[in-house]
């Protein structure tokens, strides 16, 4: 390359700049803040985290009063929950004798431990709320209609996973609230004919809520359910792209005959 021939005449500073430019270009294929159409396209297209979006979106889908950003807010809450959740894992211990002490530690001896736990708690409650609100928005704007049927089904699964995550997390503080809420909640599962009692015992690992249930809920809460939710979330976003972005009034069938398809 030309740089190797010219390198003898370059100063050390210029060499350093050239090196960092090479490094930067290796990481980000396109320039810093793209201003032209080509650059803006590549900026989204060539980035793993951004390519979840299409390069262009319709103006209609950006109107705040159309979506109120409900799905994005739910996603943001999930990201916050993963971040604070992993952080909390450094302090937590899924033991019936130790878990509650760790809650007290978070309040007293861990720096900003109470903030960490509070953020995780309120983000979890809000995620349930915003997922439901997002579902209502999708319904009231008719956004589940073809070709988006399957994405609605994925959305229902995501709602169930959100309930599951919230419910399994509820037990972990191991206080009176946690213990009896899970006792009541899992007893509801036991009312199902035939499968009910096996499901309840599978969840609890015993006849009543205890150490076995705590470990099972912990594993469900920090590995299995977040993993499943991430996978279905990826499918959910991917389908938005494949189904042509957000729903749009132009998709309605026009009353004039002979124009369909």
């Amino acid at each position: 390359m030309a740089t190797s021939q010219a390198s003898t005449t370059l100063s050390l500073k210029e060499k350093a700049i050239a090196f960092f430019n090479t490094l930067y270009r290796a990481l980000f294929r396109y320039g810093k803040m793209p201003q032209d159409a080509e650059g803006q396209s590549y900026a989204v297209f060539n980035n793993l985290f951004l390519h979840i979006h299409s390069v262009k979106v319709s103006k209609h889908s950006l109107r705040f009063t159309y979506t109120f950003g409900l799905g994005i807010i739910a996603t943001c809450l999930f990201l916050v929950l993963v971040f604070t959740g992993v952080w909390l894992m450094f302090y937590y211990f899924p033991s019936a004798t130790e878990a509650y002490n760790r809650m007290l530690d978070l309040r007293s001896s861990v720096d900003f431990g109470f903030v960490l736990r509070n953020i995780h708690k309120w983000a979890a409650e809000l995620m349930v709320v915003f997922v439901i609100l997002h579902m209502a928005r999708v319904f009231f704007t008719g956004a589940y209609k073809p070709p988006r049927e399957f994405n609605w089904v994925i959305g229902v699964l995501l709602l169930l996973l959100t309930f599951g995550l919230s419910f399994t997390g509820y037990l972990l503080p191991w206080d009176q609230l946690a213990f009896w809420a899970i006792t009541v909640g899992t007893s509801i599962a036991g009312y199902a004919p035939v499968l009910g009692e096996p499901i309840r015992k599978f969840l609890l690992g015993a006849d009543v809520v205890g150490q076995e249930a705590l470990v099972r809920f912990y594993v469900l809460h920090v590995v299995i359910l977040p993993g499943l939710l991430s996978i279905f979330l990826a499918i959910h976003f991917w389908r938005i792209r494949k189904d042509g972005g957000l729903s749009h009034p132009n998709e309605n069938e026009t009353p004039v005959k002979g124009t369909a398809q």
């Binding site: 953020i119 008719g142 049927e149 009896w180 998709e251 309605n252």
Partner: protein
């Protein structure tokens, strides 16, 4: 059989799913017949997402400093509270369970989940898309709104109006 549309410069063969549409001079990949109502994701969508994320994080931080997450005494299997309540989003179910364990706890939730998943396969007519509470969808929207309100009412009932032994109480007394 569709007619060959002769209005286009290049006749469209109805037996083909593809065809040469038109030739345009230009440098952008999106040169279309219709006016373009699209904008670039970078920066228009991304800036909105970033702002929303910042608001969410800021709101959570404020809430975390103002309101403490509840923490009661250590779990004690020998001292059940009366009433013992499930998390708030399951209190509607718990209310239904108080009438009939099987119907309220198993049958109705199962039917709700299956019903929700079937919605887009039953209501397939492409009308009223992309508009809040479209007139053409008044029936569907009315039914779903009723469903949400009933669920909400059951949750409020279970949360605030149920006391010891699941008896009816009024919260302000």
């Amino acid at each position: 059989m569709r007619e060959v549309n002769t209005k286009h410069v290049f006749p469209q063969d109805p037996n083909k799913t593809y065809g040469l549409m038109e030739l345009m001079k230009g440098t952008k990949p999106t040169v279309g017949l219709q006016p373009d109502d699209m904008v670039f994701t970078w920066p228009h969508l991304l800036i909105r997402e970033l702002v929303l994320f910042a608001i969410v994080v800021a709101g959570l931080l404020v809430a975390a400093f103002l309101f403490d997450a509840p923490l009661e005494e250590i779990a004690n299997p020998n001292h059940p509270p009366n009433p013992a309540k499930a998390p708030w989003y399951f209190l509607g179910l718990q209310e239904l369970v108080s009438y009939s364990a099987f119907v309220g706890g198993v049958l109705i939730p199962t039917l709700i989940v299956i019903g929700l998943m079937l919605i887009p396969f039953i209501d397939r007519k492409k009308i009223g898309i992309g508009k809040w509470f479209a007139k053409e969808r008044a029936l569907a929207n009315g039914l779903f709104l009723t469903f949400l309100l009933v669920m909400g009412a059951l949750i409020i009932l279970g949360t605030y109006f149920r006391g010891a032994n699941w008896s009816f109480v009024v919260p302000w007394e």
